[in-house]
Symmetry: C2
Subunit: 290 residues, 2 copies
DNA sequence: TCTCAACAGTGTATGACGTAAACATAATCC
DNA sequence: GGATTATGTTTACGTCATACACTGTTGAGA
């Protein structure tokens, strides 16, 4: 029942009942991510159930939302690894153990912080600008959100429990293609392709965002990543890469998904757009054929 | 110079010189992943330089490759979090500190293990089956590789230094579209789209692979993830999702990217294929237009 | 052949981490 | 006003990466 105080229900007693080995349990906890299916059910429950309102006892100085907000502030300032119970607690002016009155363990806090950090999806651009414009709008927003909070991309999305905001982003995407006449199955397929592309191809820019948030200039970052790729040049094992990298304008200044076009480097956004247009072309073709 | 003994060169002295705070340095180390650009250069160097051959002193009982192989065995048996120095060392019958004679820190070991675990890309299918067949072949292989080693997907690929195998996969992809007459820039763009899609949309199946490798049946996994999504049904905030999920055959048995088609559930592979065909359609259209 | 610097692996210690358990304290109910 | 129940702290434990000091081994140069 949801009326039970959520802050202290058996904690990982449930996990222990599943006969996890100690090592598994600990390692999952330390990484902040667990992949046990029973675990996911329990984690999901925690994401959705409202905290119980106790009548007796001292008043809580915080709310779950306070803790989540502090966690997000900590992660924003550093990265996922900086998000420790100690850091969150001292951000709030409490001892680490105080947080365990609000979340049974770190994992639950991270789950909640992740969903909160996803934020709300963007409002639809215009009333009916066409599905391509709407998909573009959604994709840019998602990409921008991930760049703003690179630590979100350190977590595998699907493995995590799906909170309200996670569902909202999906819902918002489905609305972009709601009037195309596609079947429910096709709608989900389109969602899968586009989201797959957006997540998968944002790796580079997220990596850059992470670096710049640590005070590294884009130039430094590009130099470091580029220098890495340069090893391929003149290596007989990589003739294609060698050719392409060599044909770029002199020195390599950007990573693989960022080649230069006849001396004028393209931005990462341009490369992203190009791919997104190809994906939407493929979807459009499918619609025509139906 | 590469002739220096690689096992003990200043260790994180380099990192300290960068004036990282202690917290940053430690958190990066504990997560096994660092995103500092100067770090990447140093890490990349370690991936490529051959270990120095000392003349004096006792013979080393191990090689870097031994350690890397043990690390991969440990990660395969568990996950990325299970990959601890202690676990790798005891897998080899040594103490944790022994590993530091081969790698300056855990991060370097993980980098090496990741690249080794990527393995070699697949051989080309036939002599000239067409670029679509070749891209399909490459994509399936990449997806299969990630499913076989789900822990690889716990790391952001682009942020890691690029080792020999990483470059080989890129090289192999470029070979699949080498004869299409595309410009070098277009080649890289196509690589970026397809790879983005493959990585991004493999999340679900990788999550399943991870679960099954822990003894969870696909049914259990699907039930847990599906139950999660079911919260959207009848929630007024998610009308589209509600409609789609409700229109599926009775109970939700699979996750968002796995809807059921008129009562007959599709496999994840079928959904993956569908998206890949759309992506390739888009690329084909681009080729035609040129 | 002997010597010793260079190296390999170990033992021990440190500080950060997540979190269990016991506690003091505060708010409510009877 | 005591009993009850919840809150936040204190203390403690086990695990982690890893610094440092140590023992023991090897082969190059004397």
């Amino acid at each position: 029942m949801a009326g039970r105080p959520a802050a202290k229900p058996r904690k990982n007693g449930g996990a222990k009942a599943l006969k996890q080995t100690k090592a598994e349990s600990l390692s999952a906890a330390s990484s902040g991510v667990a992949f046990d299916s029973a675990d996911i059910a329990r984690r999901s429950e925690l994401l959705w159930e409202a905290p119980a309102k106790p009548t007796r006892g001292p008043k809580a100085a915080l709310t779950r939302d306070d803790v989540v907000a502090a966690a997000i502030r900590v992660a924003d300032a550093g990265d996922l690894a900086a998000l420790t119970m100690h850091a969150v607690a001292s951000e709030l002016g409490f001892t680490p153990m105080a947080l365990y009155r609000y979340f049974p363990n770190k994992e639950a806090l991270v789950d909640a912080a992740v969903d909160a950090a996803l934020g709300s999806p963007p409002a639809r651009p215009g009333p009916h600008e066409g599905w391509r414009a709407e998909i573009r709008h959604w994709s840019y927003a998602k990409r921008a959100m991930l760049c703003a909070r690179p630590w979100l991309a350190e977590l595998p999305f699907v493995a995590a429990p799906h909170g309200p905001n996670w569902l909202s982003w999906h819902e918002a995407f489905l609305r972009t293609i709601a009037h195309t006449g596609l079947s429910p199955e096709d709608l989900m397929d389109v969602l899968s392709v586009v989201q797959g592309y957006v997540h998968g191809s944002s790796d580079t820019i997220i990596s850059l965002a992470r670096a710049t948030s640590r005070g590294i200039t884009p130039e430094q970052w590009a130099a470091a990543v580029g220098a890495d790729l340069c090893r391929a040049i003149n290596d007989p094992r990589y003739p294609m890469l060698s050719g392409i990298l060599a044909s770029s304008s002199g020195g390599i200044t950007e990573t693989s998904s960022l080649p230069t076009k006849h001396g004028k480097p393209r931005t990462m956004d341009e490369c992203f757009d190009w791919g997104l247009e190809r994906v939407m072309d493929g979807i459009a073709l499918y619609m025509e054929r139906k």
